[in-house]
């Protein structure tokens, strides 16, 4: 019973972590049709922001607040300098963001060295939960993920910005004709997605070693979650629970390496059989 509960909580924890990373990706992809391969490095920048803040004597919570702001600004600059030039060339957006990811990763290595950092985590105690003890910080991560999901839903369904954004997703040129400034919207969206990646990086940092390679480990699961689920918020939630759940279950019962292989292989099969994702009815390629 204990094992099942811990397994369930671990699975939920990993799934929500993936959602946290995937959310920014899905927003940028849905609205701008840009596949952001640099998302993993924006995540990385969030984690390093936390490192810098802690080295400067600031606390964890200050870092957590600053990370999305800093990374959001980076996103704003990237959009202005690079992304906006390749909007209309779909495959080129992949390559351009890919180049950005290499450059950011290398810049981080230049600034901080290739070695890994550890971050002091707050909330270092266990919480009794239905008869087992579970680390409080993991519960905190899950809480943040749920909060981010709710925040995103709120922004997209209860604000003017969200209404305009949904209009652009549905029909970009019509939205522009109706007077929506799509240029400004794109910029804001990319910055918002980047900020979410930064937040995710800062939140996850205490749980993993902060090193220049950490972005990729989350980028691929996040992509696979989006593709298996079929994009959109519900699709991403479904995909992330599948990817995260299967991965952490297999990792616990078998080995982390095989878990990853199994998850990737299954995701590939699902993507092949349902190119629009499990929930994807709308024919977006």
């Amino acid at each position: 019973m204990d094992l099942i509960l811990t397994l369930g909580l671990d699975a939920l924890n990993f799934a929500l972590a993936i959602v946290l990373v995937a959310m920014g990706l899905v927003i940028i992809f849905g609205l701008m049709n840009v596949i952001n391969m640099a998302h993993g490095e924006l995540f990385l920048l969030g984690a390093y922001t936390l490192v810098v803040v802690q080295q400067a004597g600031g606390g964890f919570w200050l870092g957590l607040i600053l990370a999305p702001i800093v990374v959001g600004l980076v996103g704003l600059v990237l959009e202005e300098l690079i992304i906006r030039h390749v909007y209309r060339r779909f495959l080129d957006t992949i390559l351009a963001t890919w180049g950005i990811s290499i450059a950011i990763k290398q810049a981080v290595i230049l600034g901080f060295g290739p070695a890994s950092y550890t971050v002091d985590a707050p909330l270092q105690f266990g919480v009794d939960f239905l008869g087992t003890t579970y680390p409080a910080y993991r519960l905190f991560i899950m809480g943040v993920a749920v909060l981010v999901i709710l925040l995103t839903l709120f922004v997209f369904f209860r604000t003017r910005f969200g209404l305009a954004a949904r209009g652009v997703i549905a029909n970009r040129s019509m939205a522009a004709c109706l007077g929506i400034n799509t240029r400004r919207l794109d910029r804001a969206t990319f910055a918002f997605g980047a900020a979410l990646a930064g937040l995710a990086g800062a939140v996850m940092a205490p749980q993993m070693s902060v090193d220049p390679q950490m972005g990729l480990g989350f980028l691929i699961p996040a992509f696979l979650a989006i593709l298996t689920g079929g994009g959109g918020l519900t699709g991403t939630l479904l995909g992330a629970s599948l990817v995260g759940g299967i991965d952490s279950t297999f990792a616990k019962l078998w080995s982390p390496v095989l878990a990853q292989v199994v998850v990737f292989a299954m995701a590939i099969v699902v993507i092949r059989l349902f190119p629009n994702g499990l929930l994807g009815g709308r024919g977006r390629r």
């Binding site: 596949i35 390749v86 080129d92 290499i102 450059a103 691929i220 696979l224 990853q260 390629r285």
Partner: protein, 323 residues
């Protein structure tokens, strides 16, 4: 292939053939290694530039070829004699077979397009590297060390700079000529139709899935061959040859050189590696930062690739070129 393009390609190859006059033995060995990367880049240019399939896992086939070559020439396959020729054949057949099976799964039915294909191949490259690290038969994390050099039955083991250089140059020229000839057939034209507008090509009666499968398989065989040539020189097959890092690098070489011209992709790989040799010592980690930035700029402003841009301009200057 247009006449001027052929003339330019011939000039490039003659240039490579004359290089040993000015370059010493050690540098020749390095150049030969870079040329195997060049052949690898041509394989990516073939599916990406010609057929429009952005493959993020081309190193699966390069590494597959490298491992096949190593296993055969080290005599680790029971019942097979340790021969370079057999190794080269295995290094082309195995990746091609794998690509064919994978392609049958990915391209038929509803099929994968664009970014989906890219991300799936990326995931497969990561899986392949993981599996290779955990598979003891092929050396696991440490890889296979002591892969014997090429021995084609003439001139004994190819170790010295000059014979190795010319052997690999010969392979590169043959591969280039065969691929260029293939691309000038109706099959090559159909590939370009596929790249330019998939639905229109299907509407005109082309079997897109079959075209993709064919070119994916051929490109895998070429990548496998380049991997085999690489490992016979490098003498060491490791899981990194299969994975994500090398897949990325070849993408950059091909994009910088020019994905739509085979010769530009080849030059892209060689030039970037030569530049890396000189500059990475001076610049240190700044080199990769600069390369990443250059790659981004190239994607934005010169989507055809820097070397291809140059070659296409030269082509117009030659007599009979379109101005």
């Amino acid at each position: 292939m247009k006449r001027n393009a052929l003339v330019l390609a011939a000039i490039v190859w003659i240039g490579f053939a004359l290089l040993p006059l000015v370059v010493d033995d050690w540098q020749l060995l390095q150049l030969a290694q870079f040329m195997t990367y060049g052949v690898f880049a041509m394989s990516l240019a073939l599916i990406w530039g010609q057929a429009g399939l952005l493959c993020f896992g081309q190193a699966i086939f390069f590494g597959g070829g490298a491992y096949a070559m190593s296993l055969v020439t080290m005599g680790l396959i029971p019942g097979l004699p340790a021969s370079s020729w057999l190794g080269l054949i295995a290094a082309m057949v195995l990746p091609a077979l794998f690509a064919n099976l994978l392609g049958r799964f990915l391209f038929y039915g509803r099929g994968l397009r664009g970014a989906h294909f890219g991300i799936v191949t990326l995931a497969i490259a990561v899986i392949a590297e993981r599996l290779a690290i955990n598979w003891e038969f092929i050396g696991g994390f440490n890889g296979l060390m002591g892969v014997p050099p090429l021995n084609l039955g003439i001139g004994g083991d190819l170790i010295d700079g000059l014979p190795v250089y010319y052997a690999i140059l010969a392979v590169a020229v043959i591969v280039f000529a065969l691929l260029a000839a293939m691309l000038s057939t109706p099959f090559g034209l159909a590939l370009n139709a596929l790249r330019n507008h998939e639905d229109r090509a299907a509407f005109l009666g082309y079997d897109n899935a079959r075209l993709k499968l064919a070119i994916f398989t051929i490109a895998a065989a070429v990548a496998g061959l380049s991997g085999a040539l690489f490992v016979a020189q490098f003498a060491f097959a490791s899981p990194t040859l299969l994975g994500f890092g090398l897949s990325t690098e070849v993408l950059i070489w091909t994009a910088l050189g020019g994905k739509s011209l085979l010769i530009a992709a080849f030059l892209g790989a060689v030039v970037v590696r030569v530049a890396e040799n000189f500059l990475s010592e001076i610049l240190g980690p700044l080199w990769l930062l600069g390369l990443g930035a250059l790659f981004v700029l190239c994607v934005i402003f010169f989507p055809r690739g820097l070397i291809a841009e140059l070659l296409l301009r030269l082509e117009r200057l030659l007599p009979g070129g379109r101005r």
